[in-house]
């Protein structure tokens, strides 16, 4: 119990610290949301002062921070300067898109990365092993904006297999239920009127962005699986199992893989945290309406409430993911309980 309490109490200073740093940082970058709104047109000083006042930007910075924290504690993250919508509503509308893409990308990375890693470990120092490890290095260093465009050129423009960008074919009208298109397109009303075409369309739209976003995690997972497997395969108990005449498949998949999976699962959880919050480039290339793109746009327009609120929510998601991993560990690993 003490363990959980400590974990959750840690959350408070972490989020406070992040908010403070983010708050100060965005005010350190020069530029002004009001002048950005008016652009080349300019604004006269009286109107400028009025607009600053309306946005609460004429208060001292500590006072602005105090109001931000006070409101955030009561669940109000403020209103976007650009769109005038509440930051929370803007986030909720975009999060499912990012979540769906992130989950799919990680799924892609896992189902390919783990088997490749295992195979490379078994065939250690073979041609395949070298090939896999060097290509994973290439995958890891692949610039996503370039990779995304190559995927589009090959699969969409040349082969015509997948759509170029977007989440679903634009002629479908899907009522929002969860915001996850793979689920929403299976609602009975949609299936009745359009059949499974919207579902397939959503799935097709997910392929290229998932590959683009999943490439780096795939490389990480493959390398991680390989090294973790190698470590476990060298353990005494594996040698004992082999000596007892157990089949190779059983040794690898039952005895070795289970133990090797522990660090891989941790990596997966951490990757998930960053993948659902850091899909900025993928979202821009594939016109994916998610939160990465939203935050970047808010920085270029100096939309302070969105940057502050958005960063706070994202940090919360990442910190919570880490806490959940710790909690799972607590149950999985008896050593931690002592």
């Amino acid at each position: 119990m003490k363990f959980f309490l400590k974990k959750f109490l840690d959350l408070i200073p972490t989020l406070f610290g992040i908010s403070l740093i983010c708050f100060v940082m965005i005010r350190l970058i020069p530029g002004d949301p009001v002048l950005n709104l008016v652009g080349e047109r300019g604004v006269d000083p009286a109107r400028y002062a009025e607009m600053k006042h309306a946005l609460g930007l004429d208060r001292s910075i500590p006072l602005q921070f105090w109001y931000f924290i006070k409101n955030a504690v009561s669940g109000n993250l403020g209103t976007s300067i650009v769109s005038n919508n509440s930051v929370w509503a803007e986030f909720i509308e975009r999060f499912p898109a990012t979540f769906e893409l992130g989950t799919f990308a990680l799924f892609f990375a896992t189902i390919i990365g783990i088997p490749l890693g295992i195979y490379a470990a078994i065939k250690r120092n073979s041609f395949f092993d070298y090939f896999l490890m060097s290509s994973s290095l290439v995958g890891y260093s692949m610039p996503i904006f370039w990779w995304g465009l190559i995927l589009i050129l090959v699969f969409s423009v040349k082969l015509g297999l997948t759509p170029v960008s977007g989440r679903i074919e634009l002629t479908f009208d899907i009522p929002v239920f969860t915001g996850l298109y793979l689920i929403d397109t299976l609602q009975s009303s949609v299936v009745k009127s359009e059949g499974f075409a919207p579902f397939w369309s959503a799935l097709k739209h997910l392929i290229l962005p998932s590959i683009a976003l999943g490439t780096i995690p795939l490389a990480v997972i493959a390398r991680m699986t390989r090294s973790s497997m190698l470590e476990v395969l060298g353990e005494d108990y594996i040698r004992t199992a082999k000596a007892k005449g157990m089949s190779k498949t059983r040794v690898v998949y039952i005895h070795a893989l289970r133990n090797a999976l522990v660090p891989i699962v941790t990596t997966l959880a951490l990757l998930f945290g960053s993948i659902i919050t850091g899909a900025i480039l993928t979202e821009t290339i594939f016109s994916w309406p998610g939160i990465g793109k939203w935050i970047v746009q808010s920085i270029t327009s100096r939309d302070y409430p969105v940057i502050q609120g958005g960063v706070l929510i994202i940090s919360f998601v990442i910190v919570m993911t880490n806490i959940i991993v710790d909690v799972i560990y607590y149950f999985l690993n008896p050593k931690m309980r002592n």
Binding site: G31, P33, L35, V38, G39, L170, D173
Partner: protein
Amino acid sequence: MKMKTIFWTLVLSFLATTTSHAKSFVYCSEGSPSSFNAQLVTDGTSTNATAGTIYNTIVAFDIGTTKIIPALATSWEISKDKLVYTFNLRKGVKFHTTKYFTPTRDFNATDVVFSIDRQRLRNHPFHDVSGGKYEYFDGMEMGKTIKEVKVLDPYKIQITLAQPDATFLANMAMSFMSIISEEYGSKLASANKKSDIDNFPVGTGPFVFQSYAKDSVIKYAAHPQYWGTRGNIDKLIFAITPDANVRYQKLKTGECQFVNEPSPSDIPEMKKNSNLKVMQDAGLNVGYLSMNVTKKPFDNLLVRQAINHALNKKAYINAIYLGNATVAKNPLPPTIWSYNDAVKDYEYNPELAKSLLAKAGFPKGFEAEMWTLPVSRPYNPNGKKMGELMQADLAKVGIKLKLLTFDWPTYLKKASQGEHQMLQMGWTGDNGDPDNFLNTLLGCSAIASGSNYSKWCDKKFNAAVLEAKTTTDIKKRTALYKEAQKIFKEQAPWVTIAHSTVFKAMAKNIKGYKIDPLGHDYFTYVSVE
């Protein structure tokens, strides 16, 4: 066997999900609109998604020109003293019927009053909704210009001005003067949902708003009871696609039929593609180099003239605009009336520039800073590269240039505070009136409002543009603006660089599209064949 059949059926249905819809028109736009009320927006992206698509104004620009034609008003009279405008409104105009609103009456004078007063009067019940920011209305000084808006009868409205203003009608045709439904406003006010007026729009325009998925897609349907003529599009879809490269790929695969802002480097390839059509027209814009006359040595006229002689503008047209622009000699683009073709531009002559600098007391030149435009704009697609070319040109006459740049918000902030010596800037016209260039960018009052980046206030020039604004005699106005352009050239607060060509790329089967000189996209007359 059965499993195999199911498998292949699934694969085939998966591959065959791309269906085409005959009268749908997909427009690949470059960004998300900031609001669905045209009164609140200033950027092109939001204007395309609102004005002209959802709304009408009482007078309008004939699409493809800057000529003012009747729209929701069928005719108008102007009093002799040029202070009172009486508009006769169109009868039988229907507002959109949507999922969230069913109008019970036609458009009438109360809607005009509601639309203008919301922006004009601080105590209007809707003034503060959505932040109460009316950048365009304030920027065009409509609050100061309009003294009174009066309903004479349900189809007659009278607007009284505080002083004569020759640009008034052109301003009335701008997107921020869009007419919104008063009946819808009252309904929202009684339901305590005022802000819906800007998110769930109701207008009289050719397309009815259907839905918006943030950062992804906006859907419209044709307005079945539209008062004017329109093309054959049933469904208008904006596919928000921020990357220009991806927009082009979508055009190639047929996922969209029209792309906004094609990248200049893709134009030659687009022209070769037999499935596509590229349209081009002279843009109503100007790219310029502004010299801050309050900073030394740019307070010296000879220095400003020397810089004008030192820059090889023709070279920039080829290198920066890939030939798709004309050299600018006036702040006004040549397509605007009153353009003074008699003005002689400063020829490219480094030797003359050197001698002018020597005369000004800088025989060995000097060191200066120039800010290069951090964003790509039609009037200057590559500020950094242009800066480097200018740096090389000025080095030849002894001016050592330090190039600086900041991100766009910072650039605007520092420029408005006058921290620069020289900076690259530009402008695209709002309403096709010369005042919108000469007074807005170079008038003395524009120093305080921030759009006169040279901080140049010339008494003669200012008197001419102010007089032209308050005169409605077009001959007199033309003469005054021509004179103003002459003074501008002599005093040289800018180096005028280029007026660029605007490109639009679309599928071959799109008909009826006209390029708007003011830079917006209108789909009223567009048809898919």
